[in-house]
């Protein structure tokens, strides 16, 4: 047999072999097709059903929509910029208008690259296949999933028009920063509708779905810009734009919406809202029910709160000696990760209604979602003293001019070690009136008062004011030994600010179903829980804390409105607190480390509430109350003011710089100047 014949014979054998193999493959393929057919998901009809899920909309107090949960903000193709549609087609699937679900040439090319070029994997999914994957399948890469995805894509192509497919696609693709669908993306990144996007903006957005996190223009602008250029080159290559247009778009300066507005403002607040909604209605209703939720959040106040915490903690970092983050230097960032940074929390409540205006649960929501404002229980330290003084006034009928002696104190406790609290400065100052004791946050006097009053009475006052945490009725409660949450402290002090009338704090004003039917609405109803006159006495003493006491930094930072409050610092400087209020707004600030670690400056000096929390409070309150007229705390009719000597508590006829003004309730008296000073409470 000649060589030619042998070749022909072999070629023929190969042909028949391939033919048989193709035939067998076709048969096996057909069999497999029928096997997997039963597992293939049904395609919804019409396709637009996929974007029909109504989103749960969350609104601010001023009815500005601040968040969408679930659902899609769908727009018809006619309301989308043509630049964006062209960019998506050019980048993702330039034969979209001609194929029937599969781009065979591209698939073969991708197959070749994946199989024969080492280290390279190329995808060839068409827009329809991507839609199929997003709608029905998990993101786990398997061959079976790919085949199913392809079959569903073929079905979608058969049943729906190209425009219907494209519309479904662009309304569900993720762009990052929580934006799903082009309308949301256009609003988030550029603050405009999808129809208004220009070529440069459209090209940037069309490049994001490939890697929403990788190309996030807020975090990696250069990367995003490069990706935009790739999209522009694809537009040029596919003939949608000219070279000049491409160059002009590449040169155009992109006006991204400020990051603070694009990211979720009030994320800690919104997390709290979502958690509360889930508790009440269940997760399905929240994520798929299309609720319309009106919250008490005021975005501007929330933004100020976030800024104040960020600024205050950055300042604190410097005091502690933590290097500032340098975005350009990777080493510094690593250093920063290594160095544990203190955290902070802020809660601000409208005293007249209980509406929560701002919640900040940490220094950066995107670093840690743990909400220290409402989830973290910490010891309040001296921040708890106002409850002690109120209880003493109420139960023992003491007044701010009552003289106490600051001296070493030991309280015997049955079956336990004696309790000997010390002052912050480890010194004792002798006799002083109660108002001065609170102003200077004298521990020994608070301890004497709780001993006489009984810890249960203090617990009762705190509970009446709205503290929900479990409080132990022990003597050390006077110095804030029981843990409370910042949210509770703000709510409880708001009761003082409001003359003893407690408003239940709330973050959700109303909830409606998708048809506008009301599911719930909050009623603003106050409950008188404290005596207005005693409350005024305590508030007046807390004003002195701000004006001349441990929180006087409030004044040096420029806050001039009438305000009252109390600082708190726990043992070893684990926690630094300040809760302060004007007649209309009560704000609590907590600063500390997540784990038990003391706040200490670089020179190892401990950092107090007055140093760590008061500046944050002041930064925030200066903005939040800007423009508010000075308003005094409501004065009950049955009180009177007296000027007394701070050491003797006796009335002084000619007030001078040393005298202290105190508030007395009807029937209460102070000693006259010609009489001997006396301590009204016997102490050990």
């Amino acid at each position: 047999m000649s060589i030619t014949m042998k070749i022909i014979q072999k070629l023929l054998a190969l042909f028949y072999f391939l033919l048989c193999a193709a035939g067998i493959c076709a048969l096996l393929g057909a069999a497999y097709f029928f096997i997997i057919l039963k597992d293939l998901p049904q395609v919804p009809d019409p396709l637009s059903r996929i974007i029909e899920t109504p989103p749960t909309e969350i609104y601010s107090a001023s009815q500005e929509r601040i968040m969408l949960i679930g659902g899609r903000e769908a727009v018809p193709l006619t309301l989308v910029s043509e630049h964006f549609i062209n960019a998506v087609i050019a980048t993702e699937d330039h034969r979209f208008r001609t194929h029937h679900g599969v781009d065979k040439l591209r698939t073969l090319k991708a197959l070749y690259i994946t199989l024969f070029i080492k280290g390279k994997v190329q995808g060839a999914s068409t827009i329809t296949q991507q839609l199929s994957k997003n709608l029905f399948f998990s993101f786990r890469q398997t061959y079976i999933r790919k085949i199913k995805e392809l079959l569903v894509a073929i079905q979608i192509e058969k049943k729906y028009t190209k425009d219907e497919i494209l519309e479904a696609y662009i309304n569900q693709i993720p762009f990052g920063v929580g934006a799903h669908g082009i309308e949301q993306a256009a609003k988030k990144f550029f603050g405009k509708s999808a129809l208004e996007l220009n070529l440069a903006e459209a090209a940037l957005l069309a490049g994001l779905p490939k890697g929403p996190a990788r190309y996030n223009p807020y975090l990696h602008f250069e990367r995003a810009k490069n990706r935009q250029k790739v999209v522009l080159s694809r537009l040029l290559a596919t003939g949608y734009i000219t070279k000049e247009e491409s160059d002009a778009a590449a040169r155009e300066e992109l006006q991204l919406r400020p990051k603070s507005l694009a990211s979720r403002t009030g994320s800690y607040f919104l997390d709290a809202v979502i958690r509360e909604l889930e508790d009440r209605y269940g997760p399905e209703a929240v994520y798929h029910g299309g609720l319309k939720v009106t919250t008490t959040l005021e975005p501007q106040i929330q933004a100020w709160a976030e800024d104040a915490v960020e600024k205050g903690l950055s300042d604190l970092d410097k005091v502690i000696g933590i290097k500032e983050a340098n975005k350009e230097t990777t080493d510094n960032k690593k250093d920063l990760k290594k160095a544990e940074r203190p955290q902070g929390a802020l809660v601000s409540i409208d005293t007249n209604s209980g509406a929560v205006k701002a919640i900040v649960g940490g220094r950066n929501y995107f670093e840690t979602e743990y909400n220290r404002a409402i989830q973290s229980s910490r010891r309040p330290g001296s921040g708890f003293k106002p409850f002690v003084y109120y209880a003493a006034f109420e139960k023992l009928n003491l007044n701010p001019a009552t003289v106490m002696i600051d001296k070493p104190v030991t309280i015997k406790i049955k079956g336990a070690k004696n309790w000997s609290p010390k002052n912050f400065g480890k010194k004792n100052s002798g006799p002083m009136i109660i108002k001065t004791a609170l102003t200077k946050s004298v521990n020994t006097i608070a301890a004497q008062l709780v001993e006489k009053t009984d810890p249960k009475a203090v617990v009762s006052v705190a509970k009446r004011c709205g503290v929900k945490s479990r409080l132990k009725p022990v003597y050390s409660i006077a110095l804030g030994a029981s843990e409370v949450k910042p949210f509770e402290m703000a709510s409880a002090f708001a009761t003082f600010a409001n003359g003893g009338v407690r408003h239940k704090p709330f973050i959700i004003k109303s909830v409606e179903d998708p048809f506008g039917r009301i599911l719930e609405e909050h009623l603003v109803a106050g409950e008188k829980v404290l005596d207005p006159a005693i409350t005024y006495q305590v508030v007046n003493m807390m004003q002195a804390v701000v004006d001349a006491g441990t929180a006087r930094r409030v004044r040096s930072l420029g806050f001039v409105l009438p305000a009252a409050g109390k600082t708190g610092t726990t043992d070893d400087y684990f926690d630094a607190w300040f809760t302060g209020f004007t007649p209309s707004l009560c704000t609590t600030v907590w600063v500390g480390y997540d784990r038990k670690k003391g706040l200490r400056a670089s020179n190892r000096v401990g950092i107090t509430g007055g140093r760590a929390a008061v500046p944050i409070w002041s930064y925030f309150m200066l903005k939040a109350t800007d423009g508010d007229p000075p308003r005094e705390f409501t004065r009950p009719s049955n009180i009177e003011f007296k000027n007394v000597d701070p050491l003797t508590g006796c009335e002084v006829d000619d007030p001078n710089g040393k005298t202290v003004q105190v508030v007395l309730r009807k029937g209460q008296t102070v000693c006259q100047k010609d009489k001997q000073p006396k301590t009204n409470v016997n102490t050990q």
Partner: protein, 369 residues
């Protein structure tokens, strides 16, 4: 015919290019080209899949989302249906007490100010005044801020918030459960006899005596004593005894009418105006027609049943006053039969019951007197 190997190249070529292989090749080639050009396979598979779409499972992310949406809608619908049911019940309710009964701890009711006013006006004066003064209500209504009324069950009984359009409570009214019970007593007949109700123990008169005394009084006073006789007229059975309460509440005194039917005794409450009721008390005591229990009125402490069962104190005197007999001697001196005689009276009435008609018999009683 069995296959034989071609012997030379010519035969090979002839066989290769014979009709069958060429046709097969053309067919396969055409199929491939047509597939590339017209995507017939996708179309065919697509058509088949479209035709079998309904038979396939609703699985995958989008369907799961749909199922979750269904669950969500059902959950919300259930809440709405419950609320609607409450709303309907509240709308139907004719009295505050009916609303209170329909409420649960976690479900309140929203009313318009007009509806609340209507319900308020239906309350007996003694109860209405305990809740809020009509003048204060009028003032609130006139100010134009009162937008809605919210009622919810909470300690101490029923809490009513008069709300403005921002849902802020302008006024909170507390209706203790004791008052709700009392309200119910006014709305329905009380089971049992007058002795079951401590405030009626001390001034019990036979119906003959009461109506005799009543008929002797001028018409204006009669109307003051029984301002709403319709309630009595609508009752079945015969009035056996009448008692006047020990308490004056905001200028009103309760009068209990004990009705007897074949099977049971019931007490119907009417509130008379204080000034008028005093007249009939005087008349009854002057006439010595009481079947007063053995206890002396002046020995009794006034009881304020509306104030959570505690005895009234001096501080409460402006709201609730104990009735002091204008002439205690006449009461004690002529205070009718002892309790043993009460039993006799009862036995007489038992005999009378045999010919009791279901109709009210005030006229017959009056005629008999």
């Amino acid at each position: 015919m069995s296959w034989s190997k071609p012997k030379n190249i010519t035969e090979w070529l002839r066989r290769v290019f014979s009709v069958r292989p060429v046709m097969l090749f053309i067919f396969i080639f055409a199929a491939l080209v047509l597939e590339l050009r017209f995507d017939w396979m996708e179309k065919a598979v697509g058509s088949y899949l479209v035709s079998t779409n309904d038979m396939r499972p609703q699985s995958g992310a989008i369907w799961e989302k749909g199922q979750q949406m269904t669950v969500a809608r059902k959950t919300l619908e259930k809440i709405i249906i419950n609320r609607e049911a409450y709303r309907r019940e509240v709308k139907k309710a004719e009295t505050l007490n009916e609303i209170a009964r329909s409420l649960t701890e976690d479900q309140g009711a929203m009313l318009s100010p007009d509806k609340f006013k209507r319900l308020y006006l239906k309350l007996p004066n003694t109860i209405a005044l305990k809740i809020i003064s009509p003048f204060e209500l009028l003032d609130l209504y006139n100010q134009g801020e009162w937008d809605r009324t919210y009622l919810n069950k909470a300690e101490p009984g029923l809490i009513v918030h008069l709300l403005n359009d921002e849902n802020r409570s302008l006024r909170m009214l507390e209706i203790p459960s004791t008052l709700l019970t009392h309200m119910e007593q006014f709305e329905t007949e009380l089971e049992g006899s007058l002795e079951n109700y401590p405030r009626f123990e001390n001034r019990i008169y036979s119906s003959i005596s009461f109506f005799t005394a009543l008929s002797a009084l001028p018409e204006s006073i009669k109307q003051g004593i029984i301002p709403k006789p319709e309630k009595l007229l609508s009752m079945h059975g015969r009035i056996q005894r009448v008692s006047i309460s020990d308490e004056v509440i905001y200028g009103f005194i309760e009068i209990g009418f004990e009705f007897v039917t074949v099977t049971e005794k019931k007490v119907v409450l009417i509130e008379g105006e204080e000034w008028a009721v005093w007249d009939i008390i005087n008349a009854l005591e002057r006439g010595g027609k009481t079947i007063q229990t053995e206890k002396k009125v002046e020995e009794k402490q006034p009881i304020d049943i509306l104030s959570t069962g505690e005895e009234s104190t001096g501080e409460d005197s402006e709201k609730t006053e104990g009735i002091d007999s204008p002439d205690p001697n006449s009461m004690t001196g002529e205070a009718g039969e002892p309790i043993e005689e009460m039993e006799d009276t009862d036995s007489i009435i038992e005999e009378d019951l045999e010919d009791v008609t279901p109709e009210i018999s005030i006229e017959r009683e009056e005629g008999g007197a």
